[in-house]
Symmetry: C2
Subunit: 265 residues, 2 copies
Amino acid sequence: MKQRLSLNQMTVDQWGVRDAAAACKRHGVEWIALWRHKVAEIGVSEAAAIVKGEGLRVSSLCRGGMFPAATAEERALRIQDNKLAIDEAVELGAGVLCLVCGAAPDRDVQGARRMIEDGIAAVVPYARERGVRLGIEPLHPMFCSDRSAICSLRQANELAERLNVGVVIDVYHVWWDPDLYPQIERAGKRILGFHVNDWVAPPVDHLKGRVMMGDGVIEIKRMREAVDAAGFTGPIEVEIFNQAMWDSPGDEVMAKVVERFALTV
Amino acid sequence: MKQRLSLNQMTVDQWGVRDAAAACKRHGVEWIALWRHKVAEIGVSEAAAIVKGEGLRVSSLCRGGMFPAATAEERALRIQDNKLAIDEAVELGAGVLCLVCGAAPDRDVQGARRMIEDGIAAVVPYARERGVRLGIEPLHPMFCSDRSAICSLRQANELAERLNVGVVIDVYHVWWDPDLYPQIERAGKRILGFHVNDWVAPPVDHLKGRVMMGDGVIEIKRMREAVDAAGFTGPIEVEIFNQAMWDSPGDEVMAKVVERFALTV
């Protein structure tokens, strides 16, 4: 399994692209998932050269999305930004752009969902021409008002089917769903990414409450087997937003990631 | 609408049954929802006499449920406790027992769902004989590992249809759901309760993060109209778990509840 391990660089937010890539090499991790704001610190060309220099492959670029906005002008800017993200993905060698779709600018969550569908539809041709696949990542419902009005895998699947794009499945966001396993099967070959971490209650923080695999309640291995059975054979990203981990030495985090990935995924 | 306002007494956790009931009278609130641990402080007979003395009706007793447990013995005790709750509901004149169904004692969330179904099935005849209706309340998915493995109205509806019981809808727990309005319509006459409050992100606390109606993003009036259209004509409980409100004078909270109920529900 270790050849499928990908370090999502937000797991080691204490580092930039250069340190994260070097750490992957040191710890025998062959894949990395990059974040745009980290890439921007050094520039896309430099980031691309670094990951190539370390012999890494890029599992995804995080993130596109954030389509809803209060005005048509702002929504057009968001679409432009997604096209820019697609260009960056091409240059970085990332075949997948992960979409965190955005939340309503007001109380109209259904309106936000229409803006999301319109926004993705507007970038699909651009992505297709450039060979970048778009993966809709449903977020946990507790992020519905601030990060994503796409709250379940069923909803992501329905949208992905209408737009002919993919989905990204993060165990933290979907583990609770009574409809999970049928929806994983339904997603099938549309699955473009699988993210692992774990859930504890009460979450220590709204955003940064994810914990190391094995420290929570999620049946990670069962979900990984279901995702595999659905036809996904790609890299598996370890993506953990956790302040305590960010405050500790990155190499300790990396060692734990490798150890727990082997035990729990 | 004010005649439909019910004070769920956890909104004024600073008070016991006696103070909460007296405050309802003072503020022109005709309904109250009681919690078992509050009732236990003075005894069921005394609580029943107080609410009757203030001329209040009891919209529901909170809460039954919590069916999953690690051992068969413990699960049997939970069922016994639910029967006791039904007896208390009868004595208090509460026609509805609200069920917070409980979480898995381990990582097996599907196993917990089976325990919930078995547990409710075991108390249904007892409730029916005594004229108490059982309302399955789906909780927000962020409570899946510590309070309820019933995480969506669809799931609650499916369970309620199989067991021929009711559902309780709390805006906080279900507002995010892309499937919400079809499931409200599906619930129809099974709707035994409707709870209002509001959502802000990030939640100030995992459990105590609910806010006053109007202070968050939930389309409360739209949901109330949908619930009405589905056939629910009963009392609407204001149920807000919020530490800041519990730390402020109860009469200020009551005044705000009445004011905001009129404006937002």
